[in-house]
């Protein structure tokens, strides 16, 4: 909760200090003056300013303050320039009391700086204070941001809501307070008309959702959270799939039955994972390992002597050399193709550059045309300046009467060309990469085969009894191959386990997604909206709202959550004073709903001059009555001019225990030596 205990302002002039110091109480408070001077506003603005909410009045920083804070003080006889001014505000959250200090005019102290003292105003000490910022980047979320602090202090928990730039922003505190602080100039134009524009999408709607604690917001947040989770799982999944494929690729294998997108991996749904060799053979990795092992074992049994197998060696040498030849041919072909790919890439890139330039020039042309038609040039409107007939936007000689594209069409046309080119370039790049891999692989194989050929040759010409170099080399080679295949298999299995874990997350995600309510409102939400609607109507009747024939036509729109008559914004056919009644009724109804149905509204209301547009005093009395019904649960501060006897009467008729009246008098700022109360 939030309660304002005390507000104090000091302005220093050459001849002494001026200022005010008022205590406020729970329940109804009047800040009154006998004339509609700016004194009341000077007091109320201090509250806005200290809470960093001056954007509700319009503007940031000390420039929104009245002139007594900024320029000069007039004591009736003389005018004194203001040297420094500052504001204190003591607030309470039902548990702790803090004092907020913000300077208005002060050299060397930024008006964005707010000092929070963790004591009451009488006991402030600099050692128990902290400096914070308002209106700076991240002031709503940063721990040094005053509004982040205030949010925690009042016990609000503001949601993240979509902003105009498609990012999520915290719902600003200024927006919440603009519903309950009705300012004198802007606040009485429309329901929530004081709401500053801070780039939140559908700000009024979001604010009402929050203050009524509607579940729609929760659902939307849940939806948001789910979509983030979905993106995360998809991303991770993609990464693992790519990792598996590239690991298998390295040893010329491929993994079959790997789902590219997240799925629930259950044995009977997904065909078992298979790691198979690329190419036509399609041997599985286990078989291949077995085959290699057999070969390896075979080599072990072969006598490592060369005496007997001269013929075999000769055959093997021939075969090896043949394979080398084949591979070399393959490399030459691949190099050839690579050259061709590179050539087409170059041509395509050149064309793309030209198209890009063309697009830029065409955009220039479109802009020029707009500029020209701003200056009312006939040619820019496709009209001949001489004969006033329509012409086509072309300087080419007209040979055939064909239609030509407009510049916009031309840009679109070029854009699609650009897309096509980019697509082609991507394709060629892929081919190029693949060819490069092929060449590398073949080169590596040739290298191995050459080593083998060399070994065989040296075997052929070695003296008997020598160890066969070729066989040893082959064995090492096989061993390496087997190890790399085993490692690959291990890796793939390990990664696949990760996929299985992800698939479980995916399953829970799907489950939660299906649990989201298909309807927009829960029962509780509907209950709250109906309550708001009934309260609003009751209040309207009480305040004598006349601009509608049938109160049954008044509803709270389920789309905007704002009052509507027969589906239209209610303001359209209300008289000026009825508009004021509607603002009273809605603000009070929102507070009633928040109190009764567990909403999130801070329990403070400020009305500056609620008696706008010569409202009838009886209705005003009713308005005060409904405020008194809040008792001490809500602190209400009303700035009011008590000029005519009628207003005086209304206030007098109120039970004097139930309200607290502060008479500001002519001027809010008085010489400080005069004690206030």
């Amino acid at each position: 909760m939030l309660q304002i205990n005390r507000v104090k302002a000091i302005a220093r002039t050459g001849i002494g200090n001026y200022g005010f110091d008022y205590n406020l109480r729970p329940g109804l408070n009047f800040i009154s003056s006998s004339d509609n001077t700016r004194g009341k506003s000077s007091v109320l603005v201090a509250i806005y300013y200290c809470l960093g909410l001056e954007e509700i009045i319009g503007g940031k920083g000390h420039k929104v303050l009245t002139s007594v804070y900024k320029n000069s003080i007039d004591d009736g006889n003389n005018t004194y320039g203001v040297l420094e001014s500052e504001v204190f505000l003591e607030i309470n959250n039902g548990c702790d009391t803090i004092t907020i200090y913000r300077s208005a005019t002060m050299e060397n102290r930024s008006d964005q700086l707010v000092t929070v003292y963790y004591n009451s105003l009488d006991n402030i000490e600099p050692s128990n204070a902290e400096d914070m910022y308002v209106h700076s980047h991240n002031a709503a979320t940063n721990s040094k941001g005053f509004h982040a602090f205030l949010e925690k202090f009042i016990g609000l928990e503001l949601p993240m809501v979509p902003a105009n730039d498609d990012k999520d922003r915290k719902l600003y505190l200024q927006l919440i307070f603009s519903c309950i602080f009705i300012e004198q100039k802007r606040g009485w134009a429309d329901v929530f008309s004081g709401m500053p524009i801070l780039g939140i999408k559908e700000a009024k709607k979001r604010v009402i959702e929050y203050i009524l604690g509607l579940d729609t917001l929760k659902n939307e947040r849940k939806k948001n959270e789910l979509s983030i989770r979905e993106a995360y799982i998809k991303n991770e999944w993609q990464k693992i799939v790519e990792d598996i494929s590239s690991a298998a690729n390295k040893v010329n294998f491929q993994v079959i039955g790997l789902p590219q997108q997240p799925r629930v991996l259950e044995k009977y749904i997904i065909s078992p994972l298979q790691i198979k060799m690329r190419g036509t053979e399609k041997i599985s990795v286990d078989n291949k390992i077995e085959e290699l092992e057999k070969e390896y074992d075979g080599l072990r049994v072969v006598k490592p002597k060369i005496v007997d197998n001269f013929d075999e060696l000769q055959v093997e040498l021939d075969e090896t050399e043949k394979s080398i030849e084949i591979l070399e041919r393959r490399i030459t072909e691949a190099r050839d193709m690579l050259l061709r790919e590179e050539a087409s890439l170059r041509t395509l890139s050149d064309t793309l550059e030209i198209v890009n330039l063309d697009i830029r020039n065409n955009k220039d042309a479109a802009k020029l045309k707009r500029l020209g038609s701003e200056l009312d040039y006939a040619t820019s409107k496709d009209i001949c300046p001489l004969c006033n007939q329509s012409i086509q936007d072309s300087l080419l000689p007209v040979q055939y009467l064909t239609n030509i594209m407009s510049i916009e069409e031309n840009i679109k046309h070029l854009d699609s060309q650009k897309q096509m080119l980019e697509f082609a370039i991507a394709g060629h790049k892929e081919n190029k990469d693949e060819l490069k891999i092929n060449i590398d692989e073949s080169s590596a194989s040739i290298f191995t085969l050459r080593r083998l050929a060399k070994s065989i040759r040296s075997d052929l010409y070695s003296i008997n009894e020598d160890l066969s170099e070729a066989i040893i080399y082959k064995r090492i080679n096989l061993e390496n191959k087997i190890t790399s295949l085993r490692e690959m298999k291990q890796h793939v299995i390990k990664q696949y386990e990760k996929l299985e874990a992800l698939s479980k997350e995916w399953k829970t995600y799907l489950e939660e997604k299906s649990k989201l309510p298909s309807k927009k409102f829960t029962e509780l939400d509907l209950d709250k909206l109906t309550f708001l609607q009934e309260q609003f109507k009751k209040n309207l009747r009480k305040y004598n709202y006349k601009s509608v024939a049938n109160f049954n036509n008044i509803t709270i729109s389920h789309h905007t959550y704002l009052p509507a008559t027969e589906g239209f914004d209610m303001k359209f056919d209300s008289s000026a004073s009825d508009n004021i009644r509607a603002i009273w009724a809605f603000t009070i109804a929102v507070m009633q709903t928040s109190l009764n149905k567990g909403g999130n509204l801070p329990e403070v209301l400020i009305f500056d001059e609620p008696a706008q547009h010569s409202i009838i005093t009886d209705d005003m009395a009713q308005f005060f009555q409904s405020i008194l019904q809040f008792e001490d649960k809500v602190q209400v501060i009303i700035g009011i001019t008590v000029k005519d006897s009628e207003t005086k009467e209304i206030i007098k008729e109120l039970d004097s225990d139930k309200y607290y009246l502060i008479n500001v008098g002519e001027k809010a700022f008085k010489s400080i030596s005069v004690k206030e109360h």
Binding site: N362, A365, K369, G372, T379, L386, L395, N403, N410
Partner: protein, 161 residues
């Protein structure tokens, strides 16, 4: 395969023709205005030759290089003035639209509204960036005198030369 697919006739729909940006009226007029605006030498206005030369320079980067060398007095460069019918047509449109006017000495000048147009083009930083750079470099240095020397040679030299 598709035996049941019988094609009686094929219909072609004519699509509108794409027009290169250099042949857009407003683009060319904009270019001419920018040229006139950025030629702020001793004399007011530009000859028709200069407009054609600069337009061609803006059209092709190879031409830009030739023009640059000619401007800086490289005698080895073989310069010809290419007359682009599109530029001539654009000049006609601009004259008719009262964006430019021709002075008694034959040079073209911007009218008040043309100046406004050119100022707007110049102030828009995202518009015709490379054009502005090129014109800033060349426009003033390519004087009418230099062009006149070139033009006068036409009568004296013939194809054999």
């Amino acid at each position: 395969m598709h035996t049941d697919l019988k094609i009686d006739k094929i219909v072609f729909n004519s699509q509108p023709d794409a027009v290169p940006v250099n042949y857009r009226i407003s683009y060319k007029i904009g270019q001419i205005c920018l040229i006139l605006f950025m030629c702020r030498g001793k004399r007011r206005g530009c000859s028709v030759y200069k407009i054609h030369m600069l337009c061609m320079g803006l059209f092709r980067s190879a031409e830009q290089e030739t023009l640059r060398r000619f401007t800086y007095g490289d005698d080895d460069i073989f310069t010809i003035i290419r007359f682009d019918p599109a530029v001539s047509r654009a000049l006609n449109y601009a004259l008719a639209d009262r964006i430019i006017f021709q002075q008694s000495n034959g040079l073209f000048c911007l009218t008040e509204s043309g100046k406004q147009f050119a100022q707007k083009i110049k102030d828009n930083e995202a518009l015709m960036i490379s054009e502005k750079l090129f014109l800033k470099e060349i426009a003033d240095k390519l004087t009418e005198e230099k062009i006149n020397v070139l033009v006068e040679r036409w009568g004296k030299t013939d194809a054999t030369n």
